[in-house]
Symmetry: C2
Subunit: 444 residues, 2 copies
C-alpha cells in the first residue's frame, strides 16, 4: 500500500494531506498540455494493464461473493464492485473524454477597469486538495481522479475495504505512468485505506478544501454533520415524473419506464409518479401494465387503487412519498391540478431532478421555472441527470445543495477563482476623499 500513499507507509492522513497540499501547488502551475498528455498516457496505461486490474478485481469479487452468500453484502453493492472485461476500455474512453475538455483553469470570468491603470480580473483556479469517500465501485477512481487532474487538484481517495485491491491496482497503474511526467507529482493521487482515517479526515479543515462523500443517505448526512471540512454531499434522489393532463401518453409511458427501470439503484431514477386526474383513467392502466411487465412494484394512493379493482396495486403510505427506493418500486399519486403536483414535489422532492411530461409548452415552461431542483426536465427521462450525459465528461458527484455546485458536478465544480488586481501604486484614500472616481468599466 505504501506505493499508493506517497511512499509514506503507515503515515497518518494528516501527513498524507500535507503531501497532497504540496503536490497541489505544483499541479496549479502545470500547463493544460501537460495535464492533458498525462491523462491520455494514463488511459493507455489502464488498457495496457487491464489484466492486472481485472485480477485484482477478481480477488475483491471472490471475497465479496463469500460475504454475499452469508448475507454480509447486498447484491446491489456486489454488482457495483465487479469490473467487466469491457469496463477497462470504458474507463480509458472516459479518461480521454475528460482529457479533451477545454482547460478549466485560468479562465477569465470577468474583467473590469476600476480606473485608469487599475484593472481587475476574476480568474478560475484549482480548489487545491479534494477528498472523495466512496464505496464499492472501483470506476469511481479513474472518474474522480481524471476530473481532479484536469482541473489541477490533488485528490485523496478513500474507497471501501471491499474494493481495496481493485482501487489499489488502478492507482498503482496511474502513479506508475505519472513517472513519465516529471512535472506531475505522484502525490497528486493518494489512496487512504483505513476506516479510522475518515474520522481524522473530517477534522482537516484548511488541509483539505473539499470533501465529497458518495454513499447512502445516512452516510452522507453523517459526513455533513460531523465534518469541519466543507462537504458537497452526493445527493439523495427522490425524483418525480409529473404526467400532465395534456401529456402524450406514449412519451409518458416511455419516460416513466426509462426513469424507473433503466438503472433503479441510481439517484436519478424516479421514485414517485404524479398523474393529473384528467388523464389518470386513460394513462394509469397503460403505464401500470408496462411497469408490471418490468417487475416494478406499484404503490398507489386511493385514487390509483380505485382504478384497479382487482387490487393489484399496493397501498402507498405517507412514508412512501419521501422514500428513495433505489429499487424496482414506484409510488403513484393522482393529483387534482398542476398546482397540486408542484406542491407535492415541493413537500417531498429532494431538489435533485424533476420531470414533466406534457405537450403544453406554457405549462412545461412554468414547471421548469417554478420547480426548485438542480434538474428540471420536460419530456425527458430523469436518468439524463448525469455528468457524462450532460457533456461534463464525468462527475465527482451530484449535489442537491445550492451552493458552489448544483446537480452533476464536473471539472468546473473543482475550481474556484481569484481576483487579480493590477495597479500602479493606487490607494483607496484618493477615492474615499473624492480626488478620484471609480470607472467600473467592464472589459471585453
Amino acid at each position: 500500500m505504501s506505493d499508493t500513499t506517497g511512499g509514506k507507509g503507515l503515515a497518518g492522513i494528516a501527513s498524507i494531506a500535507r503531501c497532497a497540499r504540496e503536490a497541489s501547488r505544483e499541479l496549479a502551475l502545470l500547463s493544460d498540455e501537460t495535464r492533458t498528455s498525462a491523462l491520455l498516457a494514463i488511459a493507455d496505461a489502464l488498457e495496457e494493464n487491464s489484466e492486472r486490474i481485472l485480477t485484482a478485481n477478481a480477488e475483491d469479487c471472490g471475497a465479496a461473493e463469500k460475504l454475499l452468500s452469508r448475507g454480509g453484502m447486498t447484491p446491489a453493492l456486489f454488482s457495483r464492485l465487479l469490473i467487466k472485461e469491457t469496463g477497462i476500455g470504458e474507463m480509458a474512453a472516459r479518461l480521454r473524454e475528460v482529457a479533451k475538455l477545454p482547460d478549466p483553469l485560468g479562465k477569465r470570468l470577468a474583467a473590469t477597469e476600476l480606473d485608469d491603470g487599475l484593472i481587475l480580473h476574476k480568474e478560475s483556479c484549482p480548489l487545491g486538495v479534494i477528498a472523495v469517500v466512496f464505496e464499492s465501485r472501483p470506476d469511481v477512481v479513474p472518474q474522480v481522479a481524471s476530473l481532479a487532474l484536469k482541473s489541477g487538484n490533488a485528490v485523496l481517495l478513500k474507497g471501501g475495504a471491499e474494493a481495496a485491491n481493485s482501487n489499489e491496482s488502478i492507482v498503482t497503474v496511474w502513479r506508475e505512468r505519472l513517472r513519465r511526467f516529471p512535472d506531475v507529482p505522484q502525490e497528486s493521487i493518494q489512496l487512504v485505506q483505513s476506516r479510522s482515517d475518515v474520522t481524522e479526515l473530517l477534522g482537516l479543515r484548511g488541509e483539505v478544501d473539499l470533501l465529497i462523500p458518495r454513499g447512502s443517505k445516512e452516510f452522507v448526512a453523517y459526513m455533513e454533520e460531523n465534518s469541519r471540512v466543507p462537504v458537497l454531499g452526493h445527493g439523495e434522489g427522490v425524483c418525480h415524473v409529473f404526467v400532465d393532463r395534456l401529456a402524450d401518453l406514449h412519451k409518458a409511458v416511455s419516460v416513466t419506464l426509462d426513469s424507473k427501470v433503466q438503472y433503479p439503484a441510481a439517484c436519478n431514477s424516479v421514485e414517485t409518479l404524479l398523474v393529473h386526474k384528467d388523464i389518470a383513467a386513460e394513462f394509469l392502466p397503460r403505464v401500470v401494465a408496462e411497469l408490471e411487465r418490468a417487475n416494478v412494484e406499484v404503490r398507489g394512493c386511493p385514487r390509483v387503487q380505485a382504478l384497479f379493482p382487482e387490487a393489484k396495486v399496493v397501498s402507498a403510505t405517507e412514508k412512501d412519498w419521501s422514500t428513495e427506493y433505489s429499487d424496482l418500486i414506484l409510488s403513484v399519486k393522482v393529483v387534482d391540478s398542476f398546482g397540486h403536483g408542484l406542491e407535492h414535489i415541493r413537500q417531498y422532492g429532494s431538489k435533485h431532478t424533476e420531470c414533466i411530461v406534457t405537450e403544453d409548452q406554457a405549462v412545461a415552461e412554468r414547471f421548469l421555472r417554478e420547480v426548485d431542483a438542480a434538474g428540471v426536465f420536460h419530456n425527458a427521462s430523469t436518468r439524463f441527470a448525469d455528468g457524462y450525459r450532460y457533456g461534463l465528461g464525468a462527475e465527482v458527484g451530484i449535489s442537491n445543495g445550492k451552493l458552489h455546485a448544483r446537480g452533476p458536478m464536473g471539472i468546473e465544480g473543482l475550481t474556484t477563482y481569484k481576483y487579480k488586481l493590477r495597479g500602479n501604486g493606487h490607494i483607496v484614500a484618493e477615492y474615499s476623499g473624492g480626488i478620484r472616481q471609480f470607472k467600473h468599466k467592464p472589459l471585453g
Copy 2:
C-alpha cells in the same frame, strides 16, 4: 417590531423563515423591471424618511454612549453604529447602484445540444432564503437587502441589540414602500430580534439556504462550527504587503500607509509588511517614519529592530504574525527572498488579500499566480478588496472560503443555477443500448 417580522409578532424564527420561503417563491418569478423599480422607490423612501431613521439611530447612539462610558462597548463598535447625516444619502446612492446592475437571474451559463431535440440549458436562479447575522452597522441592512432583492432572494436580518431602533426604522421604511408594489411580498425582508433566535436559526437546514455571519473571528467560527445551515463566513483578514527588492519606494510607502491607515478596523487592511532584505535598509526608515507620523505602532523582527538602534521598534512575537490587529499596529519582517515572502504568506495569511509592490513584471505575475488568496494585488492597496470598489455594487460579505463565492460577494454569490433539459420523449436506454449517440454540441 411586529411590523417588520411579517406581522407575526412573537412568531418563532422557524415560522418567520417559512414566510420568507413563501415570499422567495414569489420573488423568483418577478421581472427584473419590478425588482429594479422597487429598489429605486425604496432609495427614495430612505431619503424621504431620513429624519425618522436618524432619530431612531440617535436613540441607539444615546444608549450606546452610556455603555461606552462604562466600558461596555468599544469605540470601534460605537463608531460603526452612528449614521452620519450624509449616511442616508450614501445608502440611497448605493441602492441605486445595485438597482442598475444587470439582471443576475435567468442568465444562460451554458447551453448544450445533447442530441437532436434534446437541449440542456444551465440558467442562474435565486438561492431562495438568505439569513445575515451582523452587529452594529445599520448600513448593512440596506446593503444586504438590496442585493437580496435584486437577486430575487428573501432575507432574514439579525442585527445587534445596540442597533435595534436603527435597523427597525430602515426595515419599516423599506416595507412601507413595498406596499406600492403588490407583486413584491413584504415578507421578502424580515428582522429577527432576539438573541435566542440565532441558535434556532443554525438548525433551520432546508428552510434557510445560506447563512452569512458578519462579526468577530470568534463569532464567525462559532457559527461555522454549529450551523446545520450552509455558512459563508465573513472572512478574517491577515493581509500582507510584500515589498520586493525592485519596488518603487514611493509606491511602496504609499500603498503600505493606505493599506494600514485608511480604515484599520476593516478586514482588508494590512497586518504584516514583508520587506525584501535587499531594499530593507533604504525602505524601512522611510516607511517607519511615515507610519509613526500616522500613529501606527510598528512591531518588527530582529532585523527590522537592528535598523533602528534607538529601539523605537517594538519586538514582534510569533503571535504577531497571525494576528488581525484591526487597529493602528503593523508587524514588519525582513525576508531573504521572494520565496521566503511567499512561504510566510502561506503560513500566516488568511487567504483574504495579498499585495506585492514591485516594478518587476515577471515577479509580480508569479506572485499573482502562486499566492493562494481571494485577492492577489500588484501595486495597489489591500483596501481595494471590497464589493463596491470591485464594481459589484455592494457586498453581503467577504468570503475566505473557496467554495461558491470567494472574496467580496455581491449579487452573483446570492444566485445558484438549475439545469433545464427540454426533450421530446427522450429516454436513456437508447443511449446505453447504443441505438443513439450523444452529440454534446455547445450552443452559442
